[in-house]
């Protein structure tokens, strides 16, 4: 074992000396290789963390939301609708939700007006989201007026601002009492925007949705699983778009690495010929080149991954943020919580380190098994 280790150290000494002879070329390759790993790792780390964030936060969302559809569009829930749903076996609890959109011409942004289920603000008061507080320069006890869709001006007092920590889900929220909401939107009495259901047995959620469809053909049940899948697919799609844009860079690197790894220069061939002539075995030459491939690819992988981690979780992924996060006037400020997927890291490792380490071996093996004299002369 000791002898084997000593031999490997000598081989690595020789490999490093050989790499140093073509310093600029090898350093250039290492830099491009590291950059490629950095870009791929940044995109995968960022989108995985966003997917995880959405999945964890929305795991507490209602099990089923029931909308009513009219001519393919979302419509209000009329009185009597909830009683029909209440007769469906398996429905444990249901609550009508009141929420809607309001376009504010001052900030040129949409707000989500909502009536909270429990502990609503007093009449004439509102609780606002942190992004709205920033964009309108609001503070507790300030007054703010909104012109409703009927043209009337409604003035509210800001009773509170939702916590900064919740901004990812509450950036544009305006919470108000049911009385204020109905007056502001001219909502008919007894009507709701949609219904939030909870099901007694979580295994029965899909069955309840089927029964809902049968009892109320104009109802559209939206399951929590579907909500979670929607968010997973949004970030899958965005990750795909970024990777598609990066594919040109990946291909360019592939060509560079393949050219470097598979085509031996005359100088390298001469070197192999001399090594064989002075008594090196074919196995030694291959081991030397294997170490070369492994040292370059492993260094690039480690440096690229660590740089990507720091970029995504300590510098808020500033390079890819605009494409991956999306855009909005009232964009929430949030810090992503790191979640590193072991399988993703393993996949990245496999597709960046292994091909390069393997690609260097084939031409070396070909050169190493030929006669030293002919290799040196060619």
């Amino acid at each position: 074992m000791k002898l084997w280790l000593a031999k490997q150290r000598y081989l690595i000494d020789f490999t490093l000396a050989s790499l140093a002879r073509r310093k600029t070329r090898n350093l250039g390759l290492l830099l491009v290789y590291t950059l490629l790993v950095f870009m791929l790792a940044s995109v995968t780390l960022y989108t995985h963390a966003l997917r995880q964030e959405a999945a964890r936060v929305l795991a507490a969302s209602p099990e089923v939301i029931v909308q009513r559809m009219v001519a393919g569009r979302h419509d209000l829930i009329p009185p009597g609708y909830m009683e029909k749903i209440g007769r469906i076996r398996g429905v444990q609890k249901m609550e009508g939700r009141l929420w809607g959109y309001y376009y504010d011409a001052v900030t040129k942004a949409n707000y989500t007006f909502m009536v909270p289920a429990g502990n609503p603000p007093a009449a004439g008061e509102i609780v606002v989201g942190p992004a709205l507080e920033r964009s309108r320069g609001l503070a507790k006890d300030n007054g703010i007026s909104f012109r409703s869709y009927s043209g009337k001006l409604h003035t509210f007092i800001v009773a509170d601002v939702l916590p900064q920590a919740s901004e990812l889900v509450s950036a544009d929220l305006v919470l108000m009492s049911e009385q204020n909401f109905r007056a502001f939107f001219d909502y008919p009495v007894g009507h709701y925007t949609d219904i939030a259901l909870s099901v007694a047995n979580p295994q029965e959620v899909r069955n309840v949705a089927v029964k809902l469809g049968a009892a109320l053909p104009d109802a559209r049940p939206i399951l929590r699983d579907e909500v979670l899948r929607t968010y997973a697919s949004i970030y899958d799609w965005r990750e795909g778009i970024v990777l598609a844009l990066l594919s040109a860079a990946i291909l360019a690197f592939g060509i560079l690495a393949w050219e470097k790894a598979s085509g031996l220069s005359a100088e390298e061939k001469r070197e192999i010929g001399i090594l064989k002539a002075i008594g090196w075995e074919t196995g030694d030459v291959i081991k030397m080149k294997f170490w070369e491939g492994l040292l370059i690819s492993l260094t690039a992988f480690l440096a690229g991954f660590v740089a990507a981690y720091v970029h995504v979780f300590h510098f808020a992924a500033s390079l890819f943020e605009p494409v991956l996060k999306g855009w909005a006037v009232l964009y929430p400020r949030f810090q992503l919580t790191p979640h590193i997927d072991g399988l993703q890291v393993a996949t990245l490792f496999f597709f960046t380190v292994v091909p390069y380490a393997a690609a260097v071996l084939v031409p070396i093996w070909k050169a190493a098994i030929t006669d030293p004299d002919s290799v040196m002369r060619s």
Binding site: D13, L58, S61, G129, R220
Partner: protein, 104 residues
Amino acid sequence: MRPADRAFLLLAAGICAFALCFVDAARLRAVAGADEAERTRLVAQLRLTDLALFTEARYTRHPSQADLHSAFQDHPLALEHFPTGSLIAPPAGLAKVGAGDTAK
């Protein structure tokens, strides 16, 4: 120091930094635990269904609640005009339906 030892030292430092990423991730997760609990509490209390990421249109503010036609609300062949909308994936079944129609 021999070049091989220097290379091993460099690789060992790289592996340590790689492992530190996982340690740092666990630390940041622990720090963010209270904020996450706050978000989850608000989602449960207000029965929220979507993240407040894209507020420019109703189907981008609540992508999970929007009907399938909302992105083409102006007329059936209207092109999507919000930057976020163009980056949200079309429904999974739509591509299959389109492919089937072309095959016919």
